[in-house]
């Protein structure tokens, strides 16, 4: 269970988060939707502890992430598996080394006797890329990079999986492959998945719950059906993808 309470964050004069409140239930997939610049990525970085808020708290399984010292944070972060927007694969390492990275780091603190190669193989098979362990990230297509990033995130068996705009920049078919993959890897009741996206097709397909972020606040949360039938003009404009409405994005 992740509980976000009254989270505020500014960068200089730019108030990005203006009091975010959100409960993310364990074992479910929660999608945070919002336009570009609505603060989705900043919110994401607070959940995992990469950014410290100006005010408010993020509680993960009863631990306030924001109050932890740097060294304590490294102990908690093992629960998370994160899939970055561009993959963020380590480009000096092969695909296999990338997938093994999390397990190797985890082993320094214990868990001896894991067959790392077997885990790498299994993780890559899970994302449908069994033959690429020897390649470098630069040799992969955009969709393959995302899938390897998912394999790398699941290899260390996290209880919370986070996806940062997983379908952005992909063709519709590859986007759907990624959607299916997210459903597959988060099917276990042990896994809490959090996805940020502005791709409504993806959001409808993968989510148990959708939260709408607008101008630094969560303005509505609900199931897919509830969001589809939202009465809020702002939410309607966003999910229907209309330029005209209360959200003004001017052509300057």
């Amino acid at each position: 269970m992740i509980r976000i309470r009254d989270l505020h964050k500014s960068f200089g004069p730019n108030r990005v988060l203006r009091g975010v409140n959100l409960d993310i239930e364990a074992g479910h997939t929660t999608t945070i939707i919002g336009g570009s610049g609505s603060g989705k990525s900043v919110l994401f970085k607070h959940i995992i502890g990469l950014l410290k808020p100006d005010a408010g708290s993020v509680t993960v399984d009863g631990v306030n992430i924001c109050a932890l010292k740097e060294r304590e944070l490294y102990g908690v972060v093992g629960k998370f598996g994160m899939v970055f927007q561009g993959g963020a694969l380590f480009d000096s390492m092969t695909v296999g080394e990338n997938v093994a990275f999390g397990i190797r780091q985890g082993r320094e603190g214990g868990e001896p006797g894991i067959d790392i190669e077997a885990v790498v193989e299994r993780s890559l098979e899970h994302v449908g890329l069994p033959q690429v362990a020897h390649l470098l990230p630069a040799e992969l297509s955009g969709g393959m990079k995302k899938r390897v990033a998912i394999a790398r995130a699941i290899a260390k068996q996290p209880s919370i999986l986070m996806f940062d705009e997983p379908t952005t920049g992909l063709d519709p078919i590859m986007a759907d492959v990624i959607n299916e993959l997210i459903i597959k890897v988060s099917a276990s009741s042990e896994i809490t998945a959090i996805v940020i996206t502005h791709d409504m097709v993806s959001a409808y397909k993968i989510s148990d719950k959708i939260a709408v972020l607008y101008e630094g606040e969560i303005i509505e949360t609900g199931t897919v059906a509830e969001i589809r039938n939202s009465k809020s003009e702002i939410v309607r404009q966003f999910i229907e993808g209309r330029a005209a409405g209360p959200i003004q994005v001017g052509l300057k």
Binding site: G12, K45, L50, V77, F84, D91, G102, G106
Partner: protein, 258 residues
């Protein structure tokens, strides 16, 4: 926030000076914390140290050569050309080789650190390290610092030797000085403290190159342009730190002004 150019410069200078100092302290402390990243240290010793040998060799041999050439003709005006070996030995080991080795490392290594870490920062690879419970400073900066703290003095010692050899070759083959005279003057005036003061400085220069390169890499924002800017800033800053601090080191080190 001051918007005037001098105001921004002063604020930026204070912020970066503090940031570089804090990173140096953190990276040094973390170098001794488990897990020790020995494999990474060895890889940087090779990539940034051993592979710098050719350029240090070239720089040293020609610096020693031109110094011998100019010293010989300069000293000849006073009938003092016999002291060519002394001048070459002392100048090279105390000042020229440590500073030029530092500048070479600033150009070659500081640039590569800031570009590599900067690219990692803008493609979220640094954030990705964090999500695996790996401290980016310990993983990226400490091994680089350890490698250069070790390699800079070794390269300087190597450069001292090569530079003096270059000087001797020019003194004997180009201006036809007796090689025994060169050697005898060299060993009569060159003291262990001359070499040592250069070596001590070079440890600091190596550390500055590693930290400054890594610092501007970690600060990188804004894609390819940001990486280019970080690289330029790192090389200029490391070079300036080397040139300015060299003066103060020479003044501070008790045996450097003898």
């Amino acid at each position: 926030m001051p918007t005037s150019a001098p105001g921004r410069f002063v604020l930026g200078f204070a912020r970066h000076s503090g940031g570089i100092f804090l990173l140096a302290v953190k990276a040094f402390a973390m170098a001794f914390r488990r897990p020790l990243r020995l494999r990474l240290v060895v890889s940087h010793l090779y990539l940034d140290g051993i592979k710098s040998i050719p350029v240090i060799f070239l720089m040293s041999v020609f610096t020693g050569g031109v110094l011998a050439l100019q010293s010989f003709y300069g000293l000849q005006r006073f009938g003092a050309e016999v002291f060519t070996g002394s001048l070459v030995g002392v100048s090279l080991t105390k000042e020229l080789i440590p500073v030029l080795t530092g500048l070479m490392l600033a150009g070659r290594v500081s640039a590569s650190y800031s570009a590599e870490i900067g690219t990692m920062a803008v493609t979220e690879q640094v954030d990705a390290l964090f999500t695996f419970g790996v401290n980016p400073v310990q993983y990226l900066v400490s091994p680089r610092l350890a490698a250069l703290l070790l390699m800079a003095p070794l390269l300087t010692l190597f450069g001292d030797f090569v530079g003096i050899m270059g000087g001797k070759v020019v003194a004997t083959l180009v201006v036809n000085q007796n090689p025994n005279l060169f050697d005898s003057q060299l060993f009569r005036s060159l003291e262990i403290w001359d070499v040592l003061s250069g070596i001590i400085k070079s440890v600091f220069f190596g550390g500055a190159v590693a930290i400054v390169g890594s610092y501007f890499g970690l600060q990188t924002e804004g894609g390819a342009r940001g990486v280019g800017r970080a690289t330029t800033t790192a090389v200029v800053t490391a070079s300036v730190i080397i040139l300015v601090s060299d003066f103060f080191w020479s003044k501070i080190l008790p045996f450097s002004l003898r």
